[in-house]
Symmetry: C2
Subunit: 160 residues, 2 copies
């Protein structure tokens, strides 16, 4: 594949807000991000998969310190948008693998996911870009997860 | 926020496979990527949000040329994993905005999503990394979507 995995890193200062059943129509994503922006909350990961029956789920991660604020933003959004509800979880960590030439990163993703599977670590969320594959795992398993991908990709113990 | 949006680009050679209701337990993501890897299918976007009731949805994008192959991989996976089913859609495009310092990219995401909302363009999927926000939109609206974000971020008509 011509891909070089240059590093892996884990971020434990993450908390998740999962908005469930938001209307899948133009303007909703903008309203959601607007809610967090107006409270000066930095959003890291934003994940939305395709909807079913006109309703979509959107998850965002914020720093743990911002979670109380983010929670109240989410509460208000659920009411304003008529969403089904939301969940929060601060027991998470984000693990990322960085590589060059990852437009064809099927093999890298498979190796990363297999390494986690072999440790019995469940993958809660996945988000990718050309150079990075990020997953959300249980925070208590973050160190084990990082070591697993370091081994799988033969990396030294250094971020990126 | 100290963020500079350096460019935007759209990729029309994209087709989506959405696997629905896959078991949310270790090893599943690895099996899914293994299925595509063994058929030499390049996967671009991988999106998985948190599960509900022990079932997760995972979407992947592939090139349009790979869709027939990817579809048969998906059919087999649904059977092997006991998933609920899958959907395909080749009528999509991926629009990305790239910036520097996007760890706090709430404002950039809001501006991007608002620009699309103002054109009545529905956002089907969202995936982010520190330097990039990618959305999937209807392929027929791809050019309009790119122009909207170029205007919103005052960009010239050049990718990245
Ligand atoms: C769900 C949300 O992304 C919606 N489809 C929008 O375009 O804003
Ligand atoms: C759904 C899938 O990501 C599963 N949680 C896994 O770890 O493989």
């Amino acid at each position: 594949e011509g891909i070089v995995v240059s590093g892996a890193a884990v971020s434990k200062d993450e908390a998740k807000i999962a908005l469930r059943g938001v209307p899948d129509k133009p303007g909703i994503a903008a309203s959601i991000l607007g809610g967090f922006a107006s409270h000066n909350i930095n959003v890291d990961v934003i994940i939305q998969n395709t909807s079913e029956a006109g309703l979509a789920d959107m998850s965002l991660t914020v720093s743990k310190a911002d979670l109380p604020d983010a929670r109240s933003v989410a509460e208000a959004l659920v009411v304003d948008l008529g969403a089904s509800g939301f969940e929060c979880d601060e027991n998470i960590a984000k693990l990322s693998v960085v590589g060059i030439g990852m437009r064809s990163h099927t093999g890298v993703a498979e190796r990363m996911f297999s390494a986690l599977a072999e440790e019995g670590i469940n993958i809660q969320m996945i988000s990718t870009s050309e150079i990075k594959i990020s997953v959300v795992v249980d925070e208590g398993l973050a160190d084990k997860a990082l070591m697993a991908v370091h081994r799988a990709f033969d990396l030294q113990n250094s971020p990126f």
